[in-house]
Symmetry: C2
Subunit: 286 residues, 2 copies
């Protein structure tokens, strides 16, 4: 392990990190962005939905007149694979303080035709211009200190298959939401963790889009196994996050009819509720 | 008041009611639907966002191969007015159990050009085919019986300006969330009410899109005055509602930086959590 001083010197920064390199898009033409989706952000062999949302968010941040996602709504159509993809954006409305855009991510079938993977509507603004009047009544999650929480590296690999994303993240789960990894799911739809990026890069509004979808599914604690694909995910980004680790708390209260919702809250080191999301996901019952 | 028997005989039904007439769209061509937006669903002179969402939802229900909204994400661009409008839909993906569509509502400027008011992404399915395995852990809201709650007709008109929607709804607010109407807002971001349609029509998946946005804003209980326009609203419809009144409970926990979120839950008479929504809205601070 490098000494503390050189660890600080080699820590990745916003703009120069795995996350930035793997979400970078290159503008081929106005509103057209190419990317090679990384194999580094897969979970159980599927490209993580939050990583994909960050890719779309980066393209929209370039296309729209405002820099920061405020609210992003994504409908996931078909499963993405590592490899070539194109993002096509449209400016729906350019306002004074808010703009709205639409973006689609496509990949290619065997004949080279574009197949749509995800479509997104998003409203952007400038988080730096918001007044600092904060009347948040929500409280940060009750999660033990980081050194009393556990990550994938602390136990046997909890899930089958390729989960390369585990190498990209600093994830330390609340032991109260880890029963599933020991064959004893709690039965409560909860998942909590300290969250960061493995290379030390601090959070920013785009990485918050990843953070809301990067924990193990609450379905595991509800005793459900297998794939829990996201149908739709909406994220509100409310604040530029302070440096340092995030706390992510996810809750499911409405598992019914083969679907569940996951509500995520992301708290930064300054105890600000920097992002909130809700997704609708399908489950296999039984 | 008519006697009970004739009241039952004149009660509106799903398909034959104010709500159905005022959200009906007429298909001019595939994917093109005309409507005259009713002046009957305004709140403080603005056409209610949930009514608009129901209009878009009706068009999408016609356009897509599946009948029921499962998750609808709407970005509100410019304020709608009563009067002529057109909805243009696109089928994004037609799957076996879920389809995804996009829809925009336009109105006309003085030169007759179309001006986009709202753009929506929505995934539809068939609520009637969902398994009835219900493991909802959420509990219905604590709200007093309806006869201990109060509607606009029980007091002086609480807001200035035209709120014709009040005549379309049966709304009985929890007195614990009515302080604002008496000049004593509680300071808590909460609003709860019994909800129905004034003509007695039972709820259905489309009217749930209205129900999540039809209560007074939580901002009033937070002591904020004035317009609280919706930037984005996402609704999950999880179940066909049972007949009878609904209970709607709305919560705001993150009022900060000139924005707030409103989380709504809609419970039916069978104690099912039939819909959940979150919207991001702008506030005027101070």
């Amino acid at each position: 392990m490098p000494e503390a001083a050189s660890a600080a010197a080699t820590r990745a920064t916003i703009g120069d990190s795995e996350f930035d390199r793997d979400t970078a898009v290159s503008r081929r033409a106005p509103g057209v962005y190419d990317i090679d989706l990384s194999a580094g952000w897969t979970i159980i062999n599927a490209v993580n939905g939050g990583y994909l949302l960050a890719v779309l968010g980066r393209a929209l941040g370039d296309a729209l007149p405002h820099p920061d996602p405020f609210t992003v709504s994504a409908h996931y159509l078909t499963a993405s694979q590592p490899g070539p993809a194109v993002v096509r954006t449209e400016t729906v409305r350019a306002g004074r303080t808010l703009s709205t855009g639409q973006a689609s991510l496509f990949q290619y079938d065997d004949a080279g035709n574009e197949v749509e993977r995800i479509r997104v509507l998003a409203s952007y603004g400038d988080l730096g211009t918001l007044p600092d009047d904060v009347r948040t009544s929500a409280k940060p999650p009750a999660i033990p200190p980081m050194d009393q929480c556990f990550g994938p590296e602390d136990g046997p690999a909890p899930v089958d298959g390729s989960s390369a994303i585990a190498d990209r993240l600093m994830l330390k789960l609340d032991p109260a939401t880890l029963g599933w990894a020991l064959g004893q799911p709690s039965g409560r739809g909860e998942m909590r963790a300290w969250f960061g990026l493995a290379d030390g890069r601090d959070a920013d509004p785009l990485s918050l889009l990843l953070a809301v979808d990067a924990l193990p599914p609450t379905a595991f604690e509800l005793g459900l196994k297998g794939w829990v694909p996201t149908v739709e995910l909406t994220v509100h980004v409310r604040c530029r996050p302070a440096p340092g680790p995030l706390r992510v708390a996810i809750t499911t209260r409405n598992l019914a009819g083969g679907f569940l919702e996951e509500d995520a809250e992301v708290w930064d080191s300054a105890d600000r509720l920097v992002a909130q999301s809700r997704q609708l996901a399908r489950v296999r019952l039984g």
